[in-house]
Structures are given as structure tokens and as C-alpha cells.
Amino acid sequence: MKKILIANRGEIAVRVIRACREMDISPVAVFSECDRTALHVRLADEAYPIGPSAPRESYLRIDRLIEVARRSGADAVHPGYGFLAENEEFASAVQSAGLTYIGPSPEAIALMGSKTAARNAAARAGVPIVPGNDAPVPPEASDVEIEQIAAAVGYPLLVKAVAGGGGKGMRTITAPAELRDGVRAARSEAGAAFGDSAIYIERRLTRPRHIEVQLLGDRFGTVLPFVERECSIQRRHQKVVEETPSPVVTPELRSRITSAAAAVARGVGYENAGTIEFLLDEDGRFYFLEMNTRLQVEHPITEMVTGVDLVRAQIRIARGERLDLDPARVLQASGHAVECRIYAEDPDNHFLPSPGRILQMRAPSGPGIRDDSSATAGLEVPIFYDPMISKLVAWAEDRPSALARMRRALDEYIVTGIRTTLPFFRWLFIQPDFLAGRFHTTYLDDVLRERNGRPFVDVPPSAEEVAAAAAALQALMSPGSGSTHTAEPDVDQPQRRWRSQARTEALN
């Protein structure tokens, strides 16, 4: 394998480029119109335009991606996550073009991509699944029939898209009266998001935790499970903070849950990287939730505590190598790692997206800190894609030290020009329940509802005084002079000075 086409953008494209470089493989980038200046384009050996900014016209265009792979002479394709990463047609198209797909087989993607088929696969492997109906609700089912299915499952329940993911096409139903509207809404959202409006019904566990197991499988039948990740800190079903190991998983539970994950993967002959997600209830029982047939966003925390480079492992597996990792070692976390997904969103305004140009950016560094990002000063955060600008990871020898290190790193992070969720994380990382590990998948939504939009940062009077002094000095010291001794300022027009400076910045 000499050249890999990366069929993605953003931080994950940069992540894969880095693995390629370290393995002496040439990385090839693709980009949409608005990504011409993106970091993954600048870091790659070759870069090819694949169409307009809307994902449907570029990053989701299988034909154009295959065409670029051919033209560049790439011998393999890495899908990253999102976009076409769990699309069996894409995996098939790559293989049909005579190229290596760095990921599982199209058959495994198709099987585990259907939530109902995946549940059946888990049940066959003897792994508990969340109580629910094991077939999709037929599209022609009458209201009465749906009510019967729901009654058999039991309330409260979840209506979920068969092709679902990321909380789309999902509705919580607490009473039969909400069922009709919930099913209708879930169907329409699923149809819009996945092109498949099939739904199924499962029981909603109360206050569960989200625990997941990273797996690597090779083509010789070896499947290795890794120490679990805890991903219960979620906002609207989207993971926000992940850590490993989980503060509540005992060695005994770890042994059972990782064995269960490996059994499911072995049962379907799984190859390459994948993740099995479980819900853990308040009594310590776990249930299979779904399998993600790709690299996860949160893979870096596993890398930090096991020392395994998962992207490099993916590439090695894809080129036919045998897994030579020590199974006991990857089940044992060395220290503790935590990740914050930092978004271009305004936490003080309902987390609405905050696109725009990043004026300044300085990521934290130092001991135990890793910043996986594709954002740089001068770049626009486009409106077309997921607005994540960084995955900030902190590692330390234990959980309290890792959280302290993350607090330090969050305070070091400087991003100007756009709003980010940094203030929210600075708040979260001092919450007693979070620090004590007392949380579940709706913890964050619950506390945010209670806060009712209250700002995350109280500006102390001392900061106001410093800001006032700085603003006056900025107005006084002419921009770009590099010296405090400058020509007399335009006393009457400091506002104009600011504005003209803003214009200068915009041109830079």
C-alpha cells in the first residue's frame, strides 16, 4: 500500500494523513468548494476537487471519489467517520474498482447498519439486547397494530429509525397517547436523514449509562476487544465528553462486557475497526445497543490509554497483516483519558451554530494533552458540515489528574472570531456530579434544562477592569507597530480605528 485516498474532510482527514505519513504512505485529499483552503488539503501530497459544498454533491459522491482514486493511482481508500463511512455501496464500489477499502466488508456494514438485524446478531451471540420488537414496524401497520406492538414492549419506549444514528429519527414515548405522533415524526425524520423511513420500537431504560467497546478484527478470525469507553455525557443524543476507563465499570464487569462485544463481532466475521455500544442500567446490567462499523470520533482516548495507534492498525489489517497485539494489554488502561468535542456553537445562545472566520487560535499543549483539530486562524468554519473544531484530549495517571489537566488545557485554549463551546466545558468540568462520575445519558440535558439558558461564564469584576484597560490601550497603541511607543493616536476616533483594524483583519 503506497497511496491512500482519504474520502473525508476535517480533523479525521488530518488524523488519517498523519498515520499515512508515519507509515511512509502518500495521502491523497479530496475537497468541496468551500474546503479549498482546509488543513487536510494543505497537508496532503495530492488534492482533488470533487464538487460543490453541499455534502450530497461532493463528499457523498461515490462516483467522483472512485474517479479520483483511479486518477491519483491510490491503492486504498480510508472513509474516516461520517459521510460514506458506513455505506456498503461505497465499500463495494471501492472493492469493485480493484482498491482496498480500509474498513469492514460491505456485508458486515450492511448487516450491522440495520438496527434490527444487528439486534438479532447480538441475540444470536448470546448478548442481552434492550427489550423491543425484533422486526421493523411494517409501514402499513395500523394505529391499533402499532399500539399492540408498543404495549408488548412496554412504556416508556423509544421509536427508533432502523437505519438510524446520531439521535435522528428517534422519539421518546411515555404514554400511548403520544404514540401516533411520535411514530409519524420518527418516520419522517428517518426518511429525510437516511432515505429509509423504517422504524422499530424498544424499551427506554431509565437513567442508563452509555458504555462502548472498541474492537479490532483481522482476516484470520482474531477479534480483540479494548478497555471500555464511557460516553454518557451527551447533549440531544450527541456525545460531548468521552472518557476511558469508565468510572463505574469494575474489572469483573469489564471482562463480561468486552467478551460480549467480541462475541458479537466474531459471530458476524468482523474485520478491521468497529465499536459495539451498550447501555448499562442502574443495576449493572448491560444491553447491546448497536454496532458502529467504522472508526469512532472518540478513538483517541483509547489510543492514549493503550498506546495503540488505531488508524495505523486499520491500515495494517487492511493490507492483510495479522493482529499481533497482546490481548491482555489492550484490556488494561494505562492511566485515564478524557475528550471534549469542542464545537463552533454559542453555548450561551441555545448552542446555536456559530459559523464564521477564526481570527486567532492557539491550542493547548504540554504534558498529556492532544488536540485533534483541522481548524486554523484564517479559516472559515463552513455552514455545510458538522461544526466540530477540535477534539481536545487529556491523559494522566488517574481520573482526577486527567480532569485537572483538561481544566488546565481548556483555560489555555484561545479561539477568537467565532463562539465556541469552551466556556460550557469549563463549567462542566467543575460540576460535582460530573467530577464524582455520577451521571447517565440524560444527565446533561437535565442540568441544561434546569439552567434555562443562564450564561456559563460569570465575568468577575477583575476581568472587566483588565478588559477595560486592554481596550483603551488597544485603541491607543496603533495596530501592527510592534511597539508601545507609537505615533500619537487618533484620540477622537478610537471606534473608527477598531473598525478599520477589523477591516484589515478581514482582508488578511
Binding site: 481570527l359 465575568v459 476581568a463
Partner: protein
Amino acid sequence: MQYEIEVNGHPRQVVVHRVDGGFVVAVDGREWSIDAARINTQTLSLLMKVTPAGPDRPAPIASHEVTLAPDAKTGGLAVHVGGVRVPVSLNGRRQWGRADEAAAGAAGPERLIAPMPGKIVRVLVKTGEAVSARQPVVVIEAMKMENELKASQAGTVAEIHARDGQSVEAGALLVVIHR
């Protein structure tokens, strides 16, 4: 030099004098001696010492890294002091005018505008409908997420300028609510 600066909504009087090796800055009468170094066009490193020093011991020299970036949303500056973001605007007449407008706005109709470019997924209200505070009014999709825009106070929907499926620019007027 004297400046009127609104900091986090509070008006501040700032007087700056050049002295040998730096500045003396008084904020509402509290005085510092400041060594200001420019790192780049938007970043200052300030070493600040309260003057005059106390009788028993010399004042500590506090170090603050400050970034000052224009804030498109407010037309002022976003000043970051450490991890804390402080909204700042120079209190020229224009700024006071803004405050007056904001005060008038609090009593007048609420104009719900698109906070970013995106697609209207659903308009959840009809003209003439009564809405309560924090009731979702419009669902807009941008950056792969559906976002609910909510009424800030109770009122009656007076005008609707958005329809389902419509693409809108940032700042587009969507709904007007009379209080």
C-alpha cells in the same frame, strides 16, 4: 487620554497616561501601572501593578494575556481575559444609541431573525397565535443540526416571513411577535 468604555454592560471611565516604559491606566479611579507588549494585532500581554503600592509590601505584578477581536454580532469587541470572554464597546454616541434601541426593543415587538444561514425545516406557529415564553417558533437546519428558535417572552404572532423548506441568509427576519 480619556475613554468611555462599556464593559460587559457596565460603563467604565478609563484614563490613560503614557509614562516612561509604559502606561498608567485608571479604571473608574483605580489605578495601575502597566507594561503593555503587543504580541500581534489582536493580542496584548499586560503586566499590571496597582499604584501606588501598599505601605507594607510592594504590589504584585499581575500578568494577563488579552485578545481583542471584533465581534460581528455586536459590532463591538470580544475581549478574552484568560478564558473569560468579556463583551466591550466604546461608548461613543452610537453605542448609547444602541442601548436606547435595546431598551425600546424590550417593550416593542420581538423580531425573530435567522442567527445563521440555513434551511427552514418547520414554522411551528400561525399568524394570530398566542405564544408563551420559550415556546419553539421556528425550526432551522444548519450544520447538520436542527435548531429551535424560541420566543423570548409571551405574545402574539403578528407576522410570518418564513415558510417550510425555504433557504434563508443570516439576519433574515422570520417572525414578528407582539407582546
